[in-house]
Amino acid sequence: MGHLNSVAKERIEAICDSHANEKTPLIMILSDIQSEFGYVPLEAQEVVSAKTGISVAEIYGVVTFYSFFTLEPKGKHVIGCCLGTACFVLGAQKVIDQFSQLLGIKPGQTTEDGMFSIDELRCIGACAAAPAVMIDGKIYARVKPTDVAGIIAEIKAEGGAA
C-alpha cells in the first residue's frame, strides 16, 4: 500500500470537515471514505485521527468491526451472492461455491487482476428471485450453478478489461 497523495489527503480532510457539526461523526466519515475510495486504508485512518482527535486504535477497531468497511480495495465487479435464508434453502451455497471455483477466490477475496470480488450478502430482500445474485446493482434471479460461467462471461464482455 502506497502513501496517500496530497489530493486524497485533502479530500479526506474535507470529508471530516463536512461532518464537523455532528456530535459523533466517525462512522459517517468512514462511510464517505469507503464510498469514495472503495476502501479505508490505514493511511486514511491516520488522517481521520489527526483531524478528529480520535485515536487510530479506536478508528481501526470501528473499521474492522463493520463488514461495510474494508482495508483492501474491492474488485471492479463485486459479485454479491445472497445468503439469506430463502436463497439458502433454494441452493445459494452451491452458487457461491461455483463462483469461487471458477474465479479461484474465496468469498471476501478479490481476483489478482482486480476484476472480481465475491461477497456473501445477508438477505437483499429479493426472496422471490431466490437464489439471487447482485452484481453491479443488477439482480440475477433464480441462479443455478450451471448459469455461473455464463454470468461471468457476460460481465467480462460488458465490463471490458479491468
Binding site: 459517517m28 438477505c123 430482500g125 429479493a126
Partner: protein
Amino acid sequence: MYTSVEQLKADIEVFKKELASKFDGTDGKKYLQLCGGTGCLAANTMGIKEKFEELISKNNMEDKVECRVSGCFGLCSEGPFVRVFPEDVLYRLVKVEDCEEIFEKDVMGGELVDRLVYHDPDGKAVPCMKEQPFYKKQKRIALHGCNEIISTDYREALAVGGYQGFLNALEMKREDVVQAVLDSRLRGCGGGGFPTGLKWKFAFGSESDQKYVVCNGDEGDPGAFMDRSVLEDNPMAVIEGMMIAGYAIGADQGYFYIRAEYPRAVEHVNSMIATMEEKGLLGDNILGTGFSFHAHVRLGAGAFVCGEETALLNSIMGKRGMPRPRPPFPAVSGLWQEPTVLNNVETLATVPYILREGVEAFTQYGTEKSPGTKVFCLGGKVNNIGLVEIPMGTTLRELIFEIGGGIKDGKKFKAIQTCGPSGGCLTAEALYEGIDFDNMVRLGSMMGSGGAIVMDEDNCMVDVAKFYMGFICDESCGKCSPCRIGTKRILEILNRITSGQGTMHDFEELEEIASACKTNSLCALGQTAANPILSTIRHFKDEYVAHIEEKRCPAGVCADLVQYKIDPDKCKKCSKCSRVCPVEAIHGKPGKTPFEIDQSACIKCGSCLSSCPFDAISKE
C-alpha cells in the same frame, strides 16, 4: 409551507379527492399502476413502464392514460404487476412483450386479457386483487397505503391518512398519547414483543432537557425485508410514528438507523424528511403549534448485532456496535446518555393507525395479548412468496396453505422457521396454532421480525441449523465469551455431524453449550443463538441420528454424505450430463461407453441429476 393546522387540513381534503378520483375513475383517466417493490424492479418494472409510456405517446393518449409506479404489492413471486384503474384489474407476471396486448385489449378496448389474471382452482378468472386468496385474509395496518401511493409524494401520503394521527395526538395531552399506546397493547414488532406503551411511559417519566426517539431500521434477519418495504413505500408513516413518539415522551430529535444495504430506503426517507421540512410539517414550531421535531438518518455499516438496542445506540455514537448490559435501559440512559425511546420500523408505522383510527379499531384485530397485525416475509418452498400482513391469531396453516398457496411443486411441508437465526422451526403439528407473540414462544420459536421460511422434504434440518449457526458465529460481536466461544463450538460440532464424524455424545454437548449460551450471554443474539439447534433436535432428532449413526443425509443435502452415481445399464451414452457438469467431472464416450462420475472432482451440485432424460443418475 403550512403555518396552521386548518390550512393543512383544507389541503388534505383536496389531496384525498385527487387521489380517489384516480382510482374510482372520476377524473376520466385510466391508470396503469405498477409495483415498485424490489422483486418487481428486479424483474423489469421500469422496462414495462417505458413500454407503456411509449404506447401512450404513440396513441396520443397522454390526457387519457397514465402509468405510475407505487410501492410493493406484496406477492413478489407473481410480479411484475400491472393494476388497471378504475376497473381494478390485476395482471400478473407481465413481460414487456405483453404490454401491447394489455394496452390494445384492456386500455383501448375495455376487454380483459384473460391469460394474465389470476384464476381460481375452478378455472374462473378473479381479476380483482382484494378477492384473491393471497389478499383476502390480510389486513394492512403497518403496510397501509404502501401499494397505493407514489411513496415520495407527500400529497398522496397525506391523502391516505398520513399525518392525521400526529394531528390528533397534538390535540391530546402528552400522557394521554402514552396511555392510548398502552391501551392499544401494541408490542414491539422487531422481535422482542415488549409493550411499546411501557417503553414510552418510562421515557416520559425520565427527567431530562433532551430526549431522543430512535427508529431501528437495522433489519438484518436473513429472509426478512418488511422494514425496508415500509421505509421505501410509505416513509411518511414511519416519520409520523416517530413524531408521535417524540411528542408523547417530550423529545424533539429523532434518528433513523437504516442498513447501508438499503440505499433506496435511505433515499426515500431522506427525500420525505426534506419535503416535510420544506412544507412545514417537520422542523421548528410545526404548524404554529409550538412543537418542534427534527429527524436525521444514520446508516448501519453491516453488523447484525446492531439490531440489538444498546449496540445500535453505540453504532449511532460512532463506536463499535457492541451491546452493553442493561440496566440502565435506554429509556433512562440511551443516546448520548439521554432518555431514548427505540422502536422498530413496523412498530412506528403502526402507531399512526392507533392515533388516527382509535384504540378499539386496532384491538379489534388480533388476540387478547397480541392485538393488531404482524407483517411476515413468506419465503422458501412456498408457492406465493412475498410480504403479507395478517391479524395476530391467524393460524400457520392459513398463512402457509391459504395465503401462501401451499408448498412448491406439490411437495410435502416439513417445517417453517420464524425469526431467522434466533427462532426455531415449527412442524406440521403446529399448523393449527394461532400466530402471536406468546404462542410462538410456547411452541419453541419466536415471532421475531417476521421472516417465515417454509421448508419441504428436500431440506436437511441439520444443514439448516448449521446455516443459522454459521450466521450467528459470523455476526457475534465477540464481547462476551458464552456467545463468542459457545457458538463457535456448536458450529464445529454441527460441521462434524454433517461430514459424518459425529457421535451420539454430541447431543449432550450441544445441549450443554446451548444452555450456557442461553443463560450467560450478554444480549439476545447470544441468548437465542441456540434456538434453531434445540428446536431441530426436538423435532428432527431422527435426522441427526441418521447423520451420526448411518452416515447418511436423508434429504440428500450434506455433500460429504452424498454421492451421485450413474447406472451403466440405464445410461444411453448421450453425454448430456457431462455437458452440464460445471467442473468436468463426468467422463465417457458419446454413443460408445456409459458415462461415469469422478467422485474426487464432483462438487455435488446436482446439475447432472436434473439433466438426465433417462433417470440413469441417482443420489445416494
